[in-house]
């Protein structure tokens, strides 16, 4: 009797399975690509949220007024065909492209630009990144339907770079108005080669190709997108990423752990793209407000004590260059002026002896006036910072320090640990294409001035550099002076230049990235037949 009841159930299961496989065959015919993201952001409205991850899908949903050529770093026309900067650097005029429509049919014009910038600057919207990228922007004036002027209260050299980034991508003013700051992230409307379909937090983001796209900037190779649907899924645990690729779950995935990358690199089914990310190197700031790292000589000794090439090789294999400068890893080719302290534990010991931290017990521990040399490291949990901190600890213990290590479980706890001020070294770095990024790390009042160093000379140089909007060489020269000063004071321990290891199923062709490094140019992707 029991078996008879089972038969309809089995038939039902069969039907279900066969229809679902039929469905999946159906979607494969209309080309779908699955892209693995590595972090599930808390919000994905680029105008309001700050995650680097959100730009991976959304840089193809939005176009920007200007684009930045990944090879030369030059600005090229985007939604703005030409632009002019007044000699005093206070007025930027953009002459907009005609015939551009948003995905919802709204016409792109000067009113749209004004609506976007005002949406970002609205203090009630609490934009985490975009509003700061606009710097001293005062007013947006509509000159005519296709001409718009931006007025600044003081010169601001990073403005064009800001306007080339997805955080200031142009969104449909109708959609912004309809959905408002809390709902818009689920209903994003841009002018880009891909349309936003849906975002289900912690599950997926879906894009579909925009058949009406006819205003591709020169940095795109294709005029229209080739793949119909792109689905983005989240793989937060690094150990699952390569497996997701190898099992066919995803076609492209970033931030592969280096030891998995070795396997991908030699595989005949997959390709590895090591992509240099502009921004700061992995780095640890010394706390200049807490003994013993309040002494520049101690900081210098601690840098000498770290075998950075060995540590980078251990953790990142062959894929990462060792960083020798507090400066941006790529895009701005700033050379460090003096040679950076190399691995030299003997010099480290001598320097520590000089300032009174001498070896006082049989195990080689150092102390001064009976105070032991104790150091506390706080490291963020992401991007192998915790592994690096363990190697730093080993190297500092080798020269006689007693070291404790704390891994902050997230960005919030990291900031709390910083605010408590009980650290001697703390890890933090951000990405960006403009060197003005350094201002928030090295100016006295900077949000990330975690070395807590206050220096009028550095402040002056950074302010002047941010205002030097017309002469690029003069600007770079100012940053080089900042670099010298930062190295002189040994404020920071740079470790490695950031390289995103992207692993790709080799049925995917045409993968390349924007100047920001993180964002793939989705319009140029195609699937091999």
């Amino acid at each position: 009797m029991k078996h008879r009841r089972l038969i309809p159930l089995i038939i039902l299961i069969f039907l279900f399975v066969s229809t679902s496989t039929a469905c999946s065959i159906g979607t494969k015919e209309s080309s779908t690509l699955v892209y693995g993201l590595t972090l599930s952001p808390t919000g994905i409205d680029p105008h309001l949220n700050a995650s680097s991850e959100l730009g991976i899908p959304l840089a193809s949903v939005y176009d920007t007024l200007v684009f930045r050529d990944p090879a030369s770093g030059e600005f090229v026309p985007g939604l703005s065909e030409t632009w002019s900067i007044s000699p005093d650097g206070l007025t930027y005029t953009f002459f907009l492209r005609r015939g551009v429509t948003f995905h919802d049919g709204t016409i792109f014009n000067a009113q749209a630009v004004q609506a976007n910038l005002e949406y970002v600057m609205n203090p009630d919207h609490h934009s985490q990144k975009a509003q700061f990228m606009l710097g001293p922007l005062q007013e947006v004036e509509i000159i005519d339907d296709y001409t718009v002027a931006l007025y600044l209260s003081e010169p601001f050299a990073p403005l064009l770079d800001s306007l080339s980034d997805v955080y200031l991508g142009m969104a449909s003013p109708v959609a912004l108005e309809t959905w408002g700051p809390t709902e818009y992230q689920f209903h994003q409307v841009g002018t880009g080669p891909y349309r936003f379909v849906e975002y289900i937090p912690n599950d997926k983001i879906t894009l579909t190709r925009n058949p009406d796209y006819a205003w591709a900037p020169s940095i795109y190779q294709n005029a229209k997108a080739k793949i119909d649907t792109i689905v983005f899924r989240f793989y937060e645990d690094p150990a699952t990423r390569a497996i997701a690729l190898e099992s066919g779950e995803v076609d492209v995935i970033g931030e592969i752990p280096p030891h998995d990358a070795d396997r991908i690199a030699v595989s005949s089914d997959f390709d590895l793209y090591p992509i240099a990310i502009p921004g700061q190197p992995m780095q640890f700031f010394f706390n200049t407000k807490k003994a013993p790292t309040d002494a520049a000589l101690v900081r210098r000794a601690l840098i000498h004590a770290i075998n950075r090439p060995q540590a980078v090789k251990t953790i990142f294999g062959v894929y990462s260059p060792v960083a020798d400068s507090p400066f941006l890893a790529s895009s701005f080719n700033l050379e460090p002026q003096e040679s950076f302290p190399t691995y030299d534990p003997e010099t480290a010991g001598t320097l520590l002896d000089e300032v009174g931290w001498r070896i006082t017990d049989e195990e080689g521990h150092r102390s001064r006036n009976d105070v032991p040399l104790e150091l506390h490291i706080v490291a963020p949990p992401w991007g192998s910072n915790s592994e690096m901190a363990q190697l730093i600890r080993a190297d500092w213990e080798a020269i006689g320090a007693r070291v404790t290590l704390e891994i902050a479980p997230g960005f919030g706890p990291l900031k709390e640990a910083q605010a408590e001020g009980e650290y001697h070294a703390i890890g933090i770095n951000l990405f960006g294409t403009d060197p003005d990024l350094l201002r928030s790390f090295y100016s006295s009042t900077g949000l990330y001035n975690w070395s807590q160093f206050e220096d009028p000379e550095i402040d002056r140089l950074l302010t002047q550099a941010a205002q030097e909007s017309l002469d690029l060489d003069a600007r770079l020269n100012l940053y080089e002076q900042v670099s010298s000063r930062v190295q002189e004071e040994a404020l920071v321990l740079p470790i490695r230049n950031y390289v995103n290891l992207v692993a790709v199923n080799n049925r995917v062709e045409g993968l390349h990235f924007t100047a920001q490094g993180w964002y793939p140019i989705l319009i140029d992707l195609q699937l091999a037949p």
Binding site: A239, A242, Q390
Partner: protein, 265 residues
């Protein structure tokens, strides 16, 4: 004799762990926190157990882990037994209002699984090995209160206790002279069984990264670090995994034997 073989093996393993952890600095001269060779060397290239992802000697870390893992879970178990045992004793000997409050409190805490309770405690106190010990210790206490209270109750029902009460003995005297001495053996077997739970609890929490410092040579921490290398260096997860499983099995076998003996088999 043959039927005692699993027990003998278990006791043998526990003695090995104990001996090795006491003699750790003599067994391995290298620092368990410092790299000694290239990373990810296999056991054949860097005997006996290979190196981990940062180039540290896995054998040394396993040996030192024999101190941290069993030691910290022993401390957690001790907290549970002392706190839970005392609460059970108070509930059982004072009875009435005290009994009801203690039972109500432990029942409501039992609604939350012990490990979850421990995780909440760690979240509140911050990730450190010490807080893991406290959390597992206090997280296991509500369940232990119930067990010990029932046990003390059974002893209270004995005729000799009734006789003492008839002779005018007060509650404290009974607790000290009858309940505790007669509960000794049973308490030992309960504690041993609970030690296996505490061991599982501490290594689970350290595996989840709640010990804070990822460099400590603790078996749960090492198991988690090995997880990223299951394909290219599976032995990194294998050694601490075996150490944890064998130790839990051995403690369980010992606990089972103690309670069987108690029940008169």
């Amino acid at each position: 004799m043959r039927h005692h073989l699993p027990l003998l093996l278990s006791v043998g393993w526990l003695l090995i762990v104990l001996g090795v952890s006491i003699a750790a600095p003599m067994i391995s001269q290298v620092n368990p926190l410092h790299p000694v060779a290239e990373p990810l060397l296999s056991p054949s290239q860097h005997p006996p157990l290979g190196t981990d992802a940062l180039g540290r000697d896995v054998w040394t870390r396993i040996v030192y882990g024999g101190r941290l893992s069993p030691g910290s879970s022993f401390a957690a178990m001790a907290i549970t037994v002392v706190v839970g045992g005392i609460a059970g004793l108070i509930a059982s000997s004072l009875g009435g209002w005290f009994d009801r409050v203690i039972v109500w409190l432990s029942n409501s805490l039992l609604a939350i699984p012990g490990l979850l309770l421990a995780m909440l405690l760690v979240a509140a106190m911050g990730p450190r090995l010490l807080t893991v010990i406290l959390a597992v210790g206090f997280g296991g206490a509500p369940g232990f209160v119930r067990l010990s209270r029932t046990m003390f109750h059974q002893i209270r029902e004995q005729n000799y206790v009734t006789a003492s009460v008839a002779l005018g003995a007060n509650r404290t005297w009974i607790a000290i002279h009858h309940l505790l001495p007669n509960a000794k053996n049973q308490l030992l077997s309960l504690a041993t069984t609970h030690y296996a739970w505490a061991f599982m609890g501490t290594t689970t929490l350290t595996f989840l990264g709640l010990a804070g410092d990822p460099s400590i040579p603790e078996w749960g921490v090492m198991l988690n670090a090995g997880r990223a290398h299951l394909i290219d260096a599976p032995w990194l997860a294998l050694w601490p995994g075996c150490a944890i499983s064998l130790t839990i099995l051995a403690i369980h076998r010992l606990g089972a034997w103690l309670s069987q003996r108690e029940e008169g088999y």
